[in-house]
Symmetry: C2
Subunit: 181 residues, 2 copies
């Protein structure tokens, strides 16, 4: 991996910003990588779709916004409608099966995953959807090791919530790896 530009998008409460910060920290603290993570809020932020950018690289990053991401995740239909056009040709577009029902044809690999459904079936807490999504991204792209994410969760998540976060991560990684193979 020389450089991975990612955009995670969804609605305000889905925790995509937290997922992006955890990924950036994992890359930097536990793998010898550099990362930039950002939120740009313009008038469109008032619309309801949240966007967060993460760039992970082996070398210095000069511009922090992932204008044409090679990985785009959309966790709501609104986020999909707003952002699907920015995917880099040949990139990877990941959507949640329940939240994104209508997709257009894009020049990218489209992977639909039942993230929300599996989180509810196996963990029962919608709050960890973001970590399951992050696991799926890691499973699909191998941008960092799942263990690096787990270490950041261990440091950041209150002890009583670590277990459900670790399970959501594992679930997502397995789903991502299945879809990658």
């Amino acid at each position: 991996m020389s450089r991975c530009r990612m955009v995670f998008s969804g609605s305000g409460g889905q925790g995509v910003i937290t997922a992006a910060i955890i990924l950036a920290e994992a890359a930097v603290l536990w793998e010898d990588l550099v990362a930039v993570q950002s939120q740009s809020y313009g008038p469109e932020a008032r619309g309801g779709a949240t966007r967060t950018d993460v760039i992970i690289s082996e070398s210095d990053i000069h511009f922090p916004k992932a204008n044409e991401p090679n990985v785009l995740v959309c966790l709501t239909q609104e986020a999909y409608n707003k952002f699907y056009t920015i995917i880099r040709p040949g990139g990877l577009l990941v959507t949640d099966t329940r939240y994104v029902k209508t997709q257009r044809k894009v020049d990218a690999r489209q992977v639909e995953l039942p993230l929300f459904q599996r989180v509810m079936e196996e963990i029962g807490k919608p709050i960890v959807l973001n970590i399951c999504m992050l696991g799926a991204v890691v499973g699909l792209t191998r941008v960092v090791k799942p263990e690096s994410i787990r270490k950041v969760l261990k440091d950041r998540v209150p002890p009583e919530f670590f277990d459900i976060n670790a399970r959501a991560l594992e679930l997502g990684v397995a789903m991502g790896r299945d879809a990658a193979s």
Copy 2:
């Protein structure tokens, strides 16, 4: 205010990133401004000082990193030592009295505030230091209205923690206004 470039710095657990995200959201959701908020993690991130950048503007922002911030907040000595040189000449440098003991002469207005001490005396929960700091920045700079921060807290903070956050905000705003006058 045409453009305000800010850097908040401290140690990992002090919540400076959360404070920056809340400020950016307040500016955009409640005040018709645009904002960019970012974290850059290089090899230095492994050292222990966390840095987060927020730019708030009335018009488009093209480069999201606040290279020469006009407001710099340092909540630890380590963060101070690492970042004090980046302050824009004539800017505002805010430090916490307890955590930053040794300061160099800089071409900026230096404001030392007993944020941690007052939070402990009046609220007793160190976890809201970041919101008190944010209040102080708002009180000093008037970059957004305290009420806009309060509305974001209302939406983001679990109901049982809203009260201590609102009190921390109010305390910080009062300290910032006192120091500004």
